[in-house]
């Protein structure tokens, strides 16, 4: 548009202009998004929603549309992933094999064939979503049929940019569980080099459906991860989500859950482990639209060195959403004097018969606990590792699938030992 645009905004718009005629779906929606994006650009800390997460670090880069990469070029993900279940692999934002042996009752299409670009119509500019609507090229469109238990599906997202190149990956997944359907979705994000990963996951859970969603973000140390998960829950539907975020130079994940019909339930657990100059942000917006719904959120942050963590959690209870049970807890363990956590809970309650609570704690590792372990022969670094894992243990207990829990524990262990995935 004009010369004052910053490099990433310029880069994203250039990507759009260059590829828009190849992108699937309704171009008018994309044009609208591009227009909005050109006008607003990257959010700044002056905007309330981005006050604690400055995007300055993006400024140096123009993220390009990636070339094609193959499985061989992408670094293999930990072997454990193989035993979790059938997997869908995306490399550099492109589906590699959209015909794995699918679980029972599951239908799968690619976003390229079935491109639906929803835009929330509340008039607010959502940067992560707008960027995705503008540039999404591929993704998985999954549907589990009524009453079917589709067991476990692994969604593996790898980034493998060519050397000295910064690429932008905009994938868009849509997951629909019909009445009383069930699925465990294990979503993994990893890669090497410099890239911006911008996945958007839309989730629709019909009456009585149950989705367990385990998300492991283990991006490269030079990556930017800007993700959004938007879920809508029907009557009695249940969404159990656990997000573990370990990687990326800067990461923000927005979770937006709308409890649309009575007796829907959200159980959300998350942990972010940050060190060096990492910045991690978990932002949730939970809307209670219907009566008798419950939302429980437990977010834990472990922050070392100069890293900075953010948790913003908003619970909105609409006028008709009586008997709402909303709970939100944010706990941070700071491992260095320079580590920082910013915690912003927000409750907006328009109904009068609800139970809503939130809490936040910030602490350090108890030196008495370290001494107790050391006095038994455990070296100090190992003792600290044990206590960090103990801090996270309560959150991880919420992950019911043992293989998934083991995968998460192994990732935490790798993080602690400073090993790459």
């Amino acid at each position: 548009m004009n010369a004052i645009l910053d490099a990433p905004t310029r880069g994203f718009l250039a990507c759009y202009e260059a590829t828009k005629n190849l992108l699937p779906g309704d171009l008018r929606v994309r044009d609208q998004a591009a227009k909005l994006f050109a006008a607003r650009g990257l959010p700044t800390p002056r905007e309330e929603a981005w006050k604690y997460t400055p995007l300055r670090a993006l400024n140096e880069f123009e993220f390009k549309t990636p070339g094609t990469a193959t499985v061989a070029e992408a670094r293999a993900f930990p072997a454990l992933a193989a035993e979790l279940g059938p997997r869908l692999t995306f490399i550099n934002g492109r589906a590699q094999n959209l015909s794995p042996e699918l679980p029972n009752g599951m239908r799968l299409e690619s976003f390229a064939e079935c491109p639906v670009l929803g835009m929330t119509a509340d008039g607010q500019y959502n940067f992560i979503e707008t960027l995705n609507v503008m540039l999404a090229a591929d993704g998985a469109v999954l549907e589990v049929a009524e009453g079917q238990d589709a067991n476990t599906l692994v969604l593996l997202q790898l980034a493998a940019p060519a050397e000295a190149e910064a690429i932008g990956l905009h994938v868009r997944h849509r997951i629909t569980l019909k009445r009383k359907a069930r699925l465990t979705l294990i979503e993994l994000a990893s890669g090497a080099g410099r890239y911006l990963h911008n996945p958007f996951i839309e989730i629709f859970l019909e009456e009585g459906a149950l989705l367990r969603h385990v998300r492991l973000q283990e991006e490269s140390a030079h990556a930017f991860h800007l993700a959004a998960v938007a879920a809508k829950l029907g009557a009695g539907a249940r969404y159990d989500a656990f997000f573990l975020h370990l990687g990326a130079q800067l990461s923000r994940t927005e979770l937006q859950v709308t409890l649309e019909e009575p007796s829907a339930r959200l159980q959300f657990g998350a942990a972010q482990l940050l060190r060096g100059a990492q910045h991690g942000d978990i932002t949730t917006e939970i809307y209670h639209h219907a009566p008798g719904c419950a939302s429980r959120q437990t977010v834990k942050s472990v922050i070392d060195e100069r890293a900075r963590g953010v948790f913003q959690g908003r619970i909105t209870v609409e006028r008709g959403a009586q008997k709402t049970d909303g709970y939100q807890m944010n706990q941070a363990l700071l491992l260095s004097s320079e580590a920082e956590i910013d915690s912003k809970p927000q409750l907006e309650i328009y109904a009068d018969d609800v139970k809503c609570s939130h809490g936040a704690t910030v602490g350090e590792i108890d030196p008495e606990q370290i001494f107790y372990l050391r006095s038994r022969g455990v070296p100090e670094a190992e003792a600290r590792g044990i206590l960090v894992q103990a801090f996270l243990a309560e959150a991880l207990e919420a992950v019911e699938a043992e293989t998934a829990r083991n995968m998460l524990n192994a990732a935490i262990q790798r993080w602690w030992e400073g090993r790459a995935p």
Partner: protein
């Protein structure tokens, strides 16, 4: 085994130990008695290497090595074990996992092979049975929700599994009923032998009915003011520390 000479120590700038001389030979159990505030627990923490306990004078040698130069974990590897007066709770850390981690840390540091979960459980179950400790204690988080007696028994279970050369029992008898006291004593007595020593710190003589010490030392004002055989403990029980206070002054 343990030679303490002229040991003085301060906590938060306050001098607590004022020149302790004590030798515990291999195979012997020594008791340290004294009223509250005499420096008993400070001595225990100084020997275990707790931060904030500043040694201002003197030396401690353990099997000829300078114990004070070692980190807490190195002291454990060398064979020193402190049974805490107030065992620390570790929420989120399973007891079995804690015990195995500790045992394997010691074995690793000593160049021995580590035990896998199965080998460890076999050993741990046998020790628990011997000490009449219910097995569900392995499944619980370390000391979390334990009664005072359970915490002390858990210390003795660690003692039995880790098998140190020198055990320092810091008021392990406090808050115990007679049955728990016997379990604690059995745990210590079972380890007695030519290569095991213990320093039993206690306020009361009661524990010493079950763990018969070779020597009894009385600590007052950060100094050992009087030493003797097991009969000294009974004399103190009858006469109290008051007479000694006057003597020491």
């Amino acid at each position: 085994m343990l030679e303490i000479s002229g040991l003085a120590a301060a906590v938060n700038g306050q001098q607590i130990l004022n020149g302790i001389d004590l030798v515990v030979p291999s195979g012997e159990v020594h008791a340290i008695m004294g009223p509250n505030g005499s420096g008993k627990s400070t001595l225990a923490y100084v020997l275990a290497g707790r931060e904030g306990y500043e040694v201002t004078a003197g030396s401690v040698r353990f099997e000829g090595r300078d114990l004070l130069a070692l980190s807490p974990e190195e002291r454990a590897v060398a064979g020193v074990f402190l049974a805490f007066q107030y065992p620390v709770e570790l929420p989120g850390v399973g007891n079995a996992n804690f015990l195995r981690t500790a045992l394997n840390a010691l074995r690793r540091a000593r160049g021995e092979s580590e035990l896998d979960a199965v080998q460890f459980l076999k050993l741990a179950r046998a020790e628990a049975k011997r000490l009449s400790i219910p097995e569900d204690m392995f499944k619980r988080n370390v000391n979390v929700g334990f009664s005072g007696g359970e915490k002390k028994r858990n210390e003795v279970l660690q003692l039995a599994i880790l098998r140190p050369k020198l055990a320092i029992l810091d008021e392990t008898d406090s808050g115990l009923d007679i049955d728990a006291l016997k379990i604690v004593a059995d745990g210590v007595n079972a380890l007695r032998g030519p290569d095991f020593s213990a320093l039993v710190i206690t306020h009361y003589q009661r524990l010493l009915d079950f763990i018969i010490p070779d020597r009894v030392h009385v600590l007052l004002g950060g100094r050992i003011v009087c030493s003797g055989g097991p009969e000294l403990a009974r004399e103190l029980e009858a006469s109290g520390y008051a007479g000694l206070t006057a003597e020491a002054a």
